[in-house]
Symmetry: C2
């Protein structure tokens, strides 16, 4: 039977390795959209960057609600589902700071600065997700 | 630079190992929802089962539009994004048939029948996603 994660287990699960978040938003016509994102945690907030021309950026700027799924794709399977509101910033200093942390997580510490520079530029948005509802379960197929 | 997948590469990517789909739907209030699903391909259609009490089932029965993301969470990263419409069936024979295929994919051939019986029951819905738009890219971080 599926079991809930503790808060510490959930944070560790979200930050495990290069697990990506799958970010869902609602498109202009009301249909759903979902795409992978690189993110890090800041407390319980999820922080990521996206270019202002992306569908996810446009959806977030129109309707700040998002949902994110992070899962373990191997038996016995586990997942965290987050629904939240968003805060968006274009501050370049903050963009470089977080893009560097995110680059370090996904590409390794030796490439953190390179990816911080790549994604910490004008046109990118820094998005902070404030969770309003969280479900975290492990042992799904047990 | 990211590169598009060929059709054969995309199908092989979607069916690789126990990779899950992340299914996005739009909730009654217009907000987004996303959760992992087990699925198999039938041609280019994605087939999965879900209980009629789940949020995803309720969303699909109200508004048949879905989006699905399947990704490789390791460098250089890759993903397939699918937007589609859905067809829903409660036919028990078809439910058992597909739940057995899906169980075999995610839990192994020796447990396919067990999971076919678990998920091929009254109350479960068989959902077929007919893709209307597909994006498939590999080498994202290159």
């Amino acid at each position: 039977m599926a079991e809930p994660m503790t808060d510490d287990e959930r944070r560790a699960f979200l930050m495990h390795g290069t697990r990506t978040g799958k970010l869902a938003t609602t498109l202009k016509g009301g249909g759903p959209h979902v795409a992978p994102i690189w993110f890090v945690l800041d407390g319980d907030d999820l922080v990521f960057t996206t270019h202002n021309s992306s569908l996810k950026a446009k959806s977030i700027l129109r309707d700040g609600r998002v949902a994110i799924s992070v899962d373990d794709e191997t038996p016995p399977f586990a997942f965290v589902l987050i629904q939240g509101s968003t805060e968006v910033s274009e501050d370049l200093g903050a963009l470089v700071e977080w893009a560097t942390k995110i680059g370090g997580r996904y590409m390794g510490a030796d490439r953190a600065v390179e990816f911080g520079r790549r994604n910490g530029v004008v046109g990118e948005l820094l998005v902070r997700v404030k969770p309003t509802k969280t479900v975290a379960r492990t042992g799904i197929s047990d």
